[in-house]
């Protein structure tokens, strides 16, 4: 379970979020500029809130009052960034293996093969990020986060630049991860169908605040 | 002292000595088993290095003040210090200059000689040749006129180059340097009494290897004298 209660000011933008994500997958839904990326950056530890606390499964990740701020590399939270952020100097293989090396994990051949097939990136292993298409980069970024064996996943519009066929491969995989492995996720997406399919809870953010009741009405109003 | 086998004698010598000293060392090594290596640089640096414990056996300074500097620190053997070589100060001009046979005395019209150009000299505050030049101009009562026209080079060699390239119409250097540079000609010689004697003192250092003695003696021998003379130096003190 993830408990978030934070405040953060970025320039003139003010983010205030207070929620408990009891269900496995929580979707963050809201207009461009509403504060979705800012919020998951704080859960991941890349940005420190000005105030408040973040607790994941009983472990305090951040607590301004008690001056706790678990460093990013110890949080074990996989992050699929909105803009890929692959390592430009490493080929796809090494990008995918990076998390395993850094965390000293054993090679899980089965999971590896499975994830590669699901993302259809098996042929790209020797290329560098600069030689990939936009969607290929995004898929490698998904694979990289999955292969580090995280205890939680942050997904920032992971399927935005992918075609329907790809989405149809990846979504079921995430569903299985949710159901079989019980992996908690914060899932940012603008696609109502996607969100409806994967998330049990939907948090609607508008202008830096969590809206009180994410009713179907609200959703439909947004996804006009 | 007894001649030891195959020692290396390390000489610290003023850079302007290079040609003559290299020739003398070559002659020395033909007759002796010992090897002579020379570290050439500015006398100032050499003196300070000796002060800091440099492994020098023999020091040849381009002037007396730096030799006095190490002597005061008791770093040389006072019994084996000698004013070995001398030099003369000359006025030079580019080889195609119209100037020639200038008598250097207090009536010299420097402004006419330079006609607006500069007089290339070695640094008059630091470099021995420059110090002698300054003393000479002062003695002759020409300093106040000369000073604003000076181009002070890092060393004699650089002053020589400025005249050789005709950047300066005249310059003041040692006769040894002037003779070695074909693109300049000597147009006048400073009277010996116009400046303190130009002296290259030599001394064996306090911690010198035994073999240095033979080398010190050689430098004052007739054989060495011939070589130094050939390079234009005046030998002030030879034999023993």
């Amino acid at each position: 379970m993830l408990t978030v209660d934070i405040d953060k000011t970025l320039g003139t933008f003010r983010l205030t979020a207070q929620f408990e994500a009891a269900d496995r997958v929580t979707a963050l839904f809201g207009q461009s500029g509403a504060g979705k990326t800012s919020l998951i950056n704080m859960v991941g530890g890349l940005v420190a809130p000005d105030r408040g606390r973040i607790v994941l499964d009983g472990e305090v990740l951040f607590d301004a009052a008690r001056r706790i701020n678990v460093p990013v590399h110890r949080r074990r939270i996989g992050y699929v960034f909105q803009e890929g952020r692959l390592f430009p100097h490493l080929d796809v293989r090494r990008n995918l293996d990076y998390g395993r090396w850094m965390r000293g994990l054993a090679h899980d051949a089965q999971a590896h093969t499975h994830i590669l097939a699901m993302l259809d990136i098996g042929d790209l292993m020797d290329r560098r990020p600069a030689q990939l298409s936009g969607g290929e980069r995004q898929r490698v970024a998904i694979g990289r986060a999955l292969l580090m064996q995280p205890r939680m996943l942050l997904l920032d519009e992971p399927l935005a630049s992918l075609d329907a066929a790809r989405k149809a491969e990846i979504l079921p995989y995430l569903e299985r991860l949710r159901d079989d492995a019980g992996m908690p996720m914060l899932y940012v997406s603008h696609d109502r169908a996607e969100v409806a399919r994967i998330a049990q809870t939907i948090l609607h953010i508008a202008d830096g605040r969590i809206m009180p009741r994410p009713t179907a009405d609200a959703l439909f109003a947004v996804d006009a | 002292p007894a001649q030891a086998q195959n020692q290396t004698i390390t000489v610290f010598a003023a850079a302007s000595m290079k040609d003559a000293l290299d020739a003398a060392d070559k002659a020395y090594m033909q007759d002796h088993k010992d090897k002579v290596v020379v570290s050439y640089t500015a006398s100032s640096a050499l003196a300070k290095q000796i002060e800091q414990g440099a492994p020098a056996d023999l020091f040849i300074s381009a002037d007396v003040q730096w030799m006095d500097y190490v002597a005061k620190a008791k770093l040389i053997d006072p019994g084996r210090r000698v004013n070995l070589l001398g030099n003369t100060l000359v006025m030079i001009a580019p080889d195609d200059s119209k100037l020639s046979n200038i008598k250097i005395d207090s009536s010299l019209d420097l402004a006419k000689l330079t006609s607006g150009g500069r007089i290339a000299v070695a640094d008059t505050k630091a470099v021995p040749a420059g110090l002698y030049t300054k003393a000479a101009f002062e003695k002759l009562g020409l300093w106040s006129k000369a000073e604003p026209q000076l181009a002070q080079a890092e060393n004699v060699r650089a002053a020589l180059a400025l005249v050789a390239r005709a950047e300066a119409p005249i310059g003041v250097v040692y006769s040894t340097d002037a003779k070695a540079e074909p693109k300049v000609k000597i147009v006048g010689t400073f009277p010996a009494n116009s400046h303190p004697a130009i002296i290259y003192p030599v001394a064996v250092t306090a911690k010198a290897k035994p073999a240095t003695g033979a080398y010190y003696d050689f430098l004052r021998s007739d054989k060495a004298k011939a070589i130094f003379t050939q390079y234009g130096f005046a030998v002030l003190n030879s034999g023993s």
């Binding site: 100097h89 850094m102 | 570290s39 290095q49 020589l160």
Partner: protein
């Protein structure tokens, strides 16, 4: 003209040894200092920065005297090192390497620092989310992404080490076979009228060595950047 005399060979060999050793020892320190200056804020940062640049601003003779007074046999650091570890810089080629390293240091630090400052921090953040602690993140991301700067800095330091003589000659004198590098030999030759031809020979040799080093660094830099741009 180009059969080299034994002394010339000796000077070349010594110059290369001095320049290579100076550069190799300066590199790890240069990486650390560049990283500190690029990324950290700490008390005395401006001082460190100034200290690094000082050998560039002061006449080499001054740096040389300073080294002589500090690292000479009778200098505090030199004395300590000799007594404790038996390391002697004074009038040895190691001292020449020290002088060259100090003189080349500012030229090494700047490009590395520049490269580190231009790295997209977001890539480093990504490494952190994948479990890389600060040390491994530095080794696996920051260092390789600064490679062009590291190559440039290493080259400048090496070139400077080849060309240095002012500080060297003042610190460890100009002893053939021990501390007389090509540059010092050239300097000596320029001090006497008869030295021009011999000086020119050495100038040509120094030029050739530096051209080779340059071409090597270009080649490495090209490979390094080609990688990122995916060519």
């Amino acid at each position: 003209m180009f059969s080299l005399t034994p002394e010339e060979w000796m000077a070349i060999e010594l110059s290369l040894r001095v320049a290579i050793v100076a550069t190799l020892f300066a590199l790890p320190l240069g990486l650390v200092v560049a990283y500190l200056l690029a990324r950290k804020d700490f008390w005395g940062k401006a001082l460190l920065d100034g200290l690094v640049h000082l050998p560039l601003v002061l006449p080499p003779v001054v740096t040389g005297y300073f080294l002589l007074l500090t690292f000479g046999r009778r200098g505090p650091v030199g004395h300590f090192l000799e007594q404790t570890f038996g390391i002697v810089f004074a009038f040895r080629w190691t001292g020449a390497a020290l002088a060259c390293g100090v003189m080349g240091f500012p030229l090494m630090v700047r490009p590395i620092r520049l490269a580190m400052e231009s790295i997209d921090r977001k890539i480093e953040d990504a490494a952190s989310t994948l479990g890389a602690d600060p040390f491994w993140r530095f080794v696996t991301v920051t260092l390789p992404l600064s490679l062009p700067g590291i190559i440039a800095g290493t080259l400048l330091c090496f070139a400077k080490a080849l060309g240095e003589f002012g500080a060297t000659i003042t610190f460890v004198s100009n002893i053939p076979g021990e501390t007389q590098t090509i540059s010092a030999a050239i300097y000596t030759l320029t001090q006497v009228p008869s030295g021009d031809a011999a000086a020119l020979r050495l100038v040509i040799i120094a030029t050739i060595i530096s051209l080779i080093a340059l071409m090597l660094s270009e080649f490495l830099a090209r490979r390094a950047t080609a990688r990122f741009h995916g060519l």
